[in-house]
């Protein structure tokens, strides 16, 4: 009896502590949304309140703030959203497919040198992006120069790299070390008898990959796609380096432009813009909470 009540007191204390922590973690986002629906004068006043005063004015004030951000003349959020989605779509498709192909070669095909290549893949995960960011810019510049010298750009101007979104999504079509690793670990758990049976049935290894392994790996592919989508949505350094033309900016870059433009951006509008950038990700999380949690856990444990 005493034992049981002591345990439950401990549980309640733990709960209270964790509840406070949870509130502290979510408060910045609540405050972001709260600021975004206030008039400028109230956002800058010293009062701590969640809703504008009067609260009944919240919907119209929110509409005013958000439409002012969305329709800004110099910082074109609708365009940046489109650019971000283009990069995300092309990038996620390429990353998922190519990483799966490479992972298949590293798990279901037996060949000499496989271990060496796999070790190389793992090693490259340690290279920080800043190490290559400057020369990577020059790589794309050299590709452009080479194509110009060969007369390719004259005939096919769409192949131009710098000044377009290509540097942001093209590398994704060659696989990412981390995703290759993740998918390889998953492919290893699929019983070998399945592709042996497929081979006996006369399936080529490509067909085995396409018809047997990929359909069985949907959960792992979903994790890769989801996480790469978030990566692209969040990426700031890549666009900062490769995009010079404002009309090609992504949301992350656009948000920074919005904050740094001449004159002080009012806090209520800046928070409305931030909310627009954050909200889709949180929505995605609420829809696919399971995939997220399992994905994070499996990344950290393998």
């Amino acid at each position: 009896m005493r034992e049981a009540s002591r345990i439950s007191v401990g549980r309640w204390l733990t709960f209270m502590l964790l509840a406070c922590v949870a509130v502290a973690f979510i408060a910045p986002l609540v405050w972001m949304v709260s600021t975004s629906i206030k008039p400028e004068s109230q956002a800058a006043s010293g009062a701590i309140r969640l809703l504008p005063d009067p609260a009944s004015g919240a919907p119209s004030q929110a509409a005013a703030n958000y439409s002012s951000v969305w329709n800004d003349r110099t910082v074109k959020f609708p365009l940046y959203l489109r650019n971000t989605l283009v990069v995300a779509l092309l990038s996620v498709a390429g990353m998922t497919l190519s990483s799966a192909i490479v992972a298949f070669g590293l798990s279901r095909v037996r060949w000499r040198g496989r271990g060496v290549v796999f070790a190389l893949v793992l090693t490259t995960m340690m290279v920080p992006f800043p190490v290559i960011m400057a020369p990577l810019y020059l790589v794309f510049k050299n590709i452009d120069d080479g194509m110009r010298a060969a007369g390719v750009l004259e005939r096919a101007p769409w192949m131009q790299m710098l000044g377009t979104l290509k540097p942001l999504w093209l590398p994704a079509w060659f696989g990412g070390a981390f995703n290759i690793f993740l998918l390889r670990q998953f492919f290893m758990t699929i019983p070998r008898e399945l592709d042996e049976a497929a081979t006996i049935d006369g399936c080529s290894s490509w067909r085995t990959f396409w018809r047997v392994i990929l359909p069985l790996s949907r959960p792992a592919l979903a994790v890769v796609a989801l996480f790469h989508f978030i990566y692209v949505w969040n990426d700031f350094v890549g666009p900062l380096i490769f995009l010079t033309n404002r009309d090609q900016f992504t949301l992350a870059l656009g948000l920074q432009l919005y904050q740094s433009q001449a004159g002080n951006t009012p806090w209520n509008l800046l928070m409305a813009a931030s909310t627009m950038v954050v909200a889709p990700l949180i929505l995605l999380f609420l829809l696919a909470q399971r995939t997220f949690v399992q994905g994070v856990a499996s990344e950290g444990l393998k």
Partner: protein, 303 residues
């Protein structure tokens, strides 16, 4: 059947190497073009004077020697190192503590877990905006709450003494991913181990140090290594917060920011490349040291 199957596994068939290479060719081509070639280029540029508009000019180890006399370089190294030393242990400890607390039967467990995880989804650029607002000296929520408690809060992102604490606090906001990893590791610890520990008369703390910690040590190692790689290259948040038209707040100047400035603002590609290689070597050495140390400290279950 089985014996035959395993025999064919041992002996690779003729031409299988070409077949394997074909499968991994996307990565081979991609990593050559977008990783190894850029790395080799930057190694070469690091040994040259390369102002971008003119061709690189061989200068030997000059760029590397220059670092020792560059006060800005020394400052960004100091700031970045301090950030790592403060942020990595604090993030790891907080993540473990939260995971252990959440690992019981707690009411609203999933909701609490979601609240702590969601901030990790916020794009760095958006979290920079949110924290600039929260940490604003006059209007920010943090100082408003402090003033209710009777404390006069500092100008967090301006006052040089408070920039580093602000950076560390912000980094703790992203502890949710590590927490999820530890939570999953905790759930993998076999129940019998705790029962055995209890029979041996271990108290809660002893159980934590003799059972829990060794069992989740592989996850701790993974987490510390990936945190180190991330903290060494911290960029977006300080870039947005501390880089102003009238100069960068020296307390908020970090390694990658200075590397970026050298490459894309001052056009010192040679110096930037040398900085990149120093950064790479630091990451490799730190990872290597941690992997070596882990041989004695990390417990891998033999299955």
């Amino acid at each position: 059947m089985r014996a035959q199957g395993s025999a064919s596994r041992v002996r690779p068939r003729f031409g299988s190497t070409a077949r394997g290479l074909l499968w991994v060719s996307p990565w081979l081509v991609g990593s050559a073009a977008f990783l190894f070639v850029p790395m080799a280029m930057s190694l070469y540029y690091s040994l040259t004077d390369y102002p971008l508009l003119e061709p690189p000019l061989w200068s030997g180890l000059d760029n590397y020697r220059r670092m020792a006399d560059d006060p800005v370089f020394l400052r960004v190294v100091k700031n970045t190192a301090l950030f790592c030393v403060l942020s990595i242990p604090l993030q790891t400890i907080l993540a473990i503590v939260l995971a252990v607390l959440l690992n019981g039967r707690i009411p609203l467990r999933r909701t609490i877990q979601a609240c702590i995880f969601i901030p990790t989804l916020v794009p760095l650029i958006a979290s920079a905006m949110v924290w600039m607002w929260l940490f604003n000296g006059e209007l920010g929520l943090v100082n408003r709450v402090l003033s209710v408690l009777g404390v006069d809060g500092p100008a967090w992102l301006v006052d040089r003494d408070w920039v580093m604490p602000s950076m560390v606090l912000m980094s703790l906001w992203g502890v949710g991913q590590a927490m999820i990893v530890f939570l999953a590791a905790l759930q993998d610890v076999p129940r019998q181990l705790y029962e055995a520990a209890r029979i041996d008369g271990m108290g809660a703390l002893r159980q934590f140090s003799s059972v829990t910690l060794p069992m989740i040590s592989p996850a701790i190692l993974f987490n510390v290594i990936s945190l180190t790689i991330a903290c060494v290259q911290v960029f977006a948040i300080p870039y947005v917060m501390f880089r102003k038209p009238d100069g960068t707040n020296p307390a908020g100047h970090f390694y990658t920011m200075y590397l970026y400035e050298n490459a894309f603002v001052y056009g010192n590609m040679g110096y930037a490349s040398a900085m990149a290689w120093v950064q790479l070597l630091v990451v490799l050495v730190l990872t290597g040291v941690m992997l070596l140390a882990s041989r004695r400290l990390v417990h891998y279950r033999r299955v």
